[in-house]
Symmetry: C2
Subunit: 515 residues, 2 copies
């Protein structure tokens, strides 16, 4: 594939590379974890990790360490031996779990469609003792299970020290605690911030376990949560320059970027993700006031709108075979949702151009035609719902995006919200990412109480399940659901899930009024 | 345990550390290996390794590379990807085989008593491509099997280059080829030298796959083979100083030494191995003429004889519960063999003291009493065989060591050899190490033709089985025999097996006469 590369942009991004905050973490407890009937792992025994120094491990013995919070970073093991001089290597298996279930699930049983290589486990030989073993790879974890596959009959090992150097571009301890709300609210806020902290590395990652990569959809939500918490504008700026610096051949922003060994746009194009570049740039400008960056990247943003419009048919309607993501919901028809995203981003473009003093006529014309097409072809006046595709599918995603696109006025949108909730179609929402947009739609309609109630139920559900960080996927009705074939591969610290703190802090005055 | 440490000796040994010869090796063929009915692996297909660059590998795909000779060293893989940018790590398994059977055997099936950690396999994740991956551990191998456990649906890998940096303290290409003999003889000579080359590293190792360690029994045979081939006196000298520098509490030389992270004698004492220090020092002096070392280490050697004698009972007889090794033969009673080794080493001590001009009276007295005890208590005059232990066990090992000890004159010894061969007791010999001593006994009796015939049958059998290097274990009657529970753990390049070249070159004139 050909790529459009702008070295000047990439150079700017390189200059904005963060110095990571490094903190040494130690395990708090030695735990025993057991699977329950639903296949979920639970801590059934725990003792102080101080005991580690008194434990020797031989062939077949396993220990599980609990660091009591989620961390991203590098493991170091200090291993000594007990008994005769070690007359054979140590062969051991390490397994890292963001949650307890990953410890009880067996990697060997995984047969899903995405790579087993994401499962965080290592088989390691150690030849010389005492050993200080720092693993070269980065892991995302709370739990570490160490299994001695073999030593020899003449010696056992002892873990003199286990430490984990956690890394992040930011430091959550510097974010003031939420100044209102009950325990659940405050916990959700903490978990949001922890999620964001662990995803903020060299770039905004989607998830530090998987894919460890800069995706546009994740970046957009991370950025707005970051503006309310860490206020690290440079990392957003860096990502904006990265996306602008390595694009697809036609100038479209890719859905994601690889950052190693060199910056390189992936060959995956997503209709909605490319358009969101405009929204991220607008949000960044509004949060930071950095007009220079907004001006410099305007052309890139505008190009995304052009490409988005060029994909429309003669009625100014996007086809149902478009490459929008929207949600992981299987069978979701993406026509109406994509049309909604286009309109949403056209509005962002017009607003940004206005702020920068640029001409908006062309975009205004596109906006008008795109809105009209949505009303003419995607609105079912009898059902008073948006439909999508030839089969006239009715989904949450379609309604939510048409509300966020403000195709109708606020009152109509509010009725639409009521209608979709009472209808509760099978085409529901599966990712926190889509659920975020549902909450945003509630807020846009002025439905603050409904929004808060929804956050309490959905993200609060994850907290009640013991989440230290919010997950890539959560379906309260099917807790082991995964689009990948097994939940062992799911990411349990996922950027697009971090927005409760954004809602709590951005709309603080509204929530305070409600209490 | 307490150790007796002589820093001055260890410092001298450190100064004799060899600079290893490094050579880059490339695979010759891509092969397919299949197990036969006897459980032995065979190459059933091969093509030129040039084809490697045209092969892409995805999930579940395996390739086996044949370097066409045995090497010890470090692997480097140059891996690139084909398809989309790699959106998940590569997870792969590497398996190193000294021979084809190790490739077909499954490590998971191994359940023997020595550590599974010796099986040369690694599970590796690679995150960033193109990757140049140099594995930190050293391997002993001819075959390398690479299995892709997973990549992702979006990419496959290609092996742009596979190289293996072989290391040794010596260079076999500098040893002149055997100047006589037929193809089998010459091949056995080559295989001996290759075995020795691959075992000569920082120290004389027993086997570069396992245990990678300095054992006295192996050192003794390696040293004499080395004097006839590489003539690297410094490496023997280094090992003599190492054994002298870190000893057991009472000054006994340990059965083996660890060299990493520091020089340290193992807590394993073996009656015969400690005594052999005297033999190794004598052999070294006779080969090198280095009188200074012989003088400096004489006290250490003499101490081994003292300890050996102190272990005897009132009749000057060693007990049957002594800690001699002699052979891996299960059930072998070690009384007579150990007595034989003691006598053999007393003779070595007397000869060395004589050469150095030291007093030999004490040793002469010990020798006389030890020989007499052997005659009085271990010789069965009716059977005209040596017996061992209360149960009066008759074994090859007992006769062989009593012949080498020269308890009787040459004529009686020759008759003894005939007698044990015609009796062929169940207590036979299982290691090439014990078989070496049988050949040495034949030669001592002047039975050159018998010795040569035996080498042809025994070591020649390994060559006919396709050996590139001689093995730790070989029983022509039970080819998958292992004292460890499975042949996957056996070492197939083992020092104590390298002596055909010693016999061919040391006794060249004798063999030439026979032709």
């Amino acid at each position: 594939m050909q790529r459009m590369v702008r070295e000047d942009f990439l150079k700017k991004a390189e200059g904005l590379k963060p110095q990571l905050v490094q903190t040494v973490r130690y395990p708090n407890h030695i735990v025993k974890i057991q699977k329950d009937d639903q296949g979920k792992g639970h801590i059934i025994e725990q003792k102080n990790a101080e005991a580690l120094r008194t434990i020797t491990m031989g062939k077949g013995e396993t220990i599980c360490l609990d660091f009591e919070d989620h961390y991203v970073g590098y493991l170091t093991l200090h291993i000594s031996t007990v008994g005769s001089p070690p007359d054979a290597p140590l062969f051991m298996k390490l397994k890292f779990g963001e949650n307890a279930t990953e410890i009880t699930d067996r990697a060997e049983d995984y047969d899903g469609w995405i790579s087993r290589s994401w499962i965080q486990e290592e088989y390691i030989h150690v030849d010389v003792f005492p050993a200080v073993l720092t693993l070269p790879r980065r892991y995302a974890m709370r739990f570490l299970e160490i299994t001695v596959l073999d030593t020899s009959r003449k010696y056992k090992i002892r873990l003199d020290q286990v430490s984990f150097l956690s890394v992040s571009a930011v430091d959550a301890s510097k974010v003031p605690a939420l100044s209102y709300g009950d325990a659940l609210l405050r916990r959700m806020d903490q978990v949001s911030i922890k999620t964001l902290e662990d995803c903020m590395q060299d770039v905004f990652e989607d998830g530090p376990k998987r894919d460890r990569r800069l995706w546009m959809g994740d970046l957009r939500l991370e950025a707005i949560a970051n503006y309310e918490t860490f206020r690290n504008y440079d990392l957003v700026k860096r990502c904006l320059y990265l996306f602008a610096g390595s694009r697809l051949e036609n100038g479209a922003v890719g859905a994601c970027l690889f950052t190693e060994p060199v910056i390189q746009v992936d060959d995956t194009y997503m209709y909605d993700y490319a358009l969101f570049y405009v929204a991220v740039l607008l949000d960044y400008y509004e949060a930071s006031g950095d007009i220079q960056t907004a001006r410099e990247l305007w052309d890139v943003a505008y190009r995304q709108l052009e490409i988005g419009v060029q994909a429309l048919d003669e009625h100014f309607l996007i086809g149902e075979e478009n490459q929008a993501f929207l949600d992981w919901k299987a069978g979701l028809n993406k026509q109406a949702g994509a049309q909604g995203v286009l309109i949403y981003c056209l509005r962002c473009g017009i607003r940004l151009a206005d702020l920068l003093g640029y001409d908006v006529n062309r975009m205004e014309e596109w906006l008008e035609r795109a809105v009209q097409a949505a009303k003419d072809y995607l609105w079912d006046p009898k059902q008073r719902l948006f439909i999508s595709g030839k089969e006239r599918q009715i989904s949450y995603a379609s309604q939510v995006w048409m509300i966020l696109a403000q195709v109708w006025d606020t009152e109509t949108n509010r009725e639409l919200l009521d209608r979709i909730l009472s209808l509760d179609p099978e085409m529901n929402m599966v990712t926190p990412y889509m659920n975020h947009h549902f909450v945003a739609a509630c807020i846009l309609c002025g439905e603050y109480e409904r929004a808060m109630q929804y956050i309490r139920t959905y993200w609060g559900g994850m907290v009640q399940e013991g989440a230290d960080t919010f997950w890539e996927l959560y379906n309260p009705k099917n807790k082991t659901e995964s689009p990948y074939g097994s939940s062992i591969i799911n990411s349990y610290c996922h950027a697009w899930s971090c927005t409760p703190t954004y809602f709590f802090r951005k709309y603080e005055q509204k929530w305070r009024q409600q209490q």
